[in-house]
Amino acid sequence: MNVTEAVFLLFAIVAVVSALLAMTSHQLVHSALWLVVTLGSVAGCFVVMTAEFVAWVQVLVYVGSVVVLVIFALMMTRQPAAGPSAEVTGNRWAAGALGIVAAVGLGATVTAGFRGERIKGQRIGTARSIGDALFHDWVLGFEILSVVLLAALIGAIVISRSGSEH
């Protein structure tokens, strides 16, 4: 295992541990901040795998906007330092079991698909290469995605307006 893979492993461990802390933290604000660490480590993993563009977009969009939005929603709906974070209901055992099943399933799929891959040395994740791939090979998926986002946007506007009229 060379240095690259060691660093990748380090980032991966940090991501998993901070994700666990985000799940189990008693304060919602701490959960959101552990989420920041998780997303940052994932961005670090991307950088080590030479997918730089995705890494910085991850930081810009996820850490810079999505987490801010999450914290904003938190602030609007909750007291800052209230007691236990989420309502802990009787469903938690079923939710835990479902989570484990999902984790095993996803892990198996990813391992089966990418087992044996190594981080190669060449730069494969530049903006140019991603742009080429996106607009030559995956254009259909890109356009469908933009239609889905447009639908979500219009839906959000409709919901917010109908809510305010009542």
Binding site: Q27, V29, H30, L33, V36, E52, F53, W56, V57, V59, L60, V63, G64, S65, V67, V68, L69, I71, F72, M75, M76, P80, A81, T126, A127
Partner: protein, 322 residues
Amino acid sequence: MSDLLDIVLRCVIVVGAFMTLPLLVGQMEHKAMAHMQSRVGPMKAGAFHGWAQLVADGVKFAQKESIIPAAADNAVFRLAPAVALVPYLVAMVAIPLGPFFGQTDLIGQDLDLGLFFVLAAMSVGVLGSLMGGLGSGNKYSYIGGMRVAAQLMSYELPMVLAAASVAMAAGTLSLVGIANAWEPWWLLAQLPGLIVFFTAGLAELQRPPFDAPMADAELVMGPLTEYGGMRFAMFLLSEYAGIVVLAALTSVLFLGGWAGPWSDQVGWIWSLLKIVVVSFLVIWARVAYPRLREDQVNALAWKVLVPLALLQVTLTTFLVVL
């Protein structure tokens, strides 16, 4: 071994610039704002017109007691100034200053995705103010934190769009590449983008007239209410470092960076000059304009700046394709 020395030297220079340029901007703010208000500003610290005022401020802050409110969230409260400050240091690594007497460009590290890197680093700095607002255990900080979240999120979009339009025109995301590809007629072609970027940048830094989160007539000091001593100094340093980063980005993206006569030798001086001019504009905007109300801030972002940025992107697309 000279590679290592090169890296160390670049780090030292970046850290040195990070420590000195914000202080220079701060001193310029003291004096320029003072003269615009028909007064003289600091005169006593340092024998010549108070040049050492910010040094004296630094010493003052360093010797202050560090107070943490009882209701504050300890870890979040302590970490917030660092989270606000470090991203600007990181962003400075990728910003070029231009040719230094024929040598290669003065830059920490030229990244292929330099523009995205800098924008991403600036957006992480947002979390510092948020953490300060949430972790202070104070309702004024809380409201200030909410205003910070709404404002900074709203202004990310026009800033990124305006920067993206320049990247499209230059054909690269590398800051050195963009500055090299600059042509003087871009001053007109990218003018809406310049206005949008500068305004959105001002709002990202929470500088007046966009300092509704820090409105001291309403919110004491917003997210910074409970901070004093060295932590407060870190927040202040992050604000001025942000001004330097914004000025540097604006000049590299929209004003051609080191373009000017004899730019091969003294390009870095042109860069610094443009940074000083843009910083002066930031200070001028502070003195000349009253604070925008919170709803005006958001309306400006979504109803004026985003359409203008989209218009700029469309215009640039036409110009690039044709």
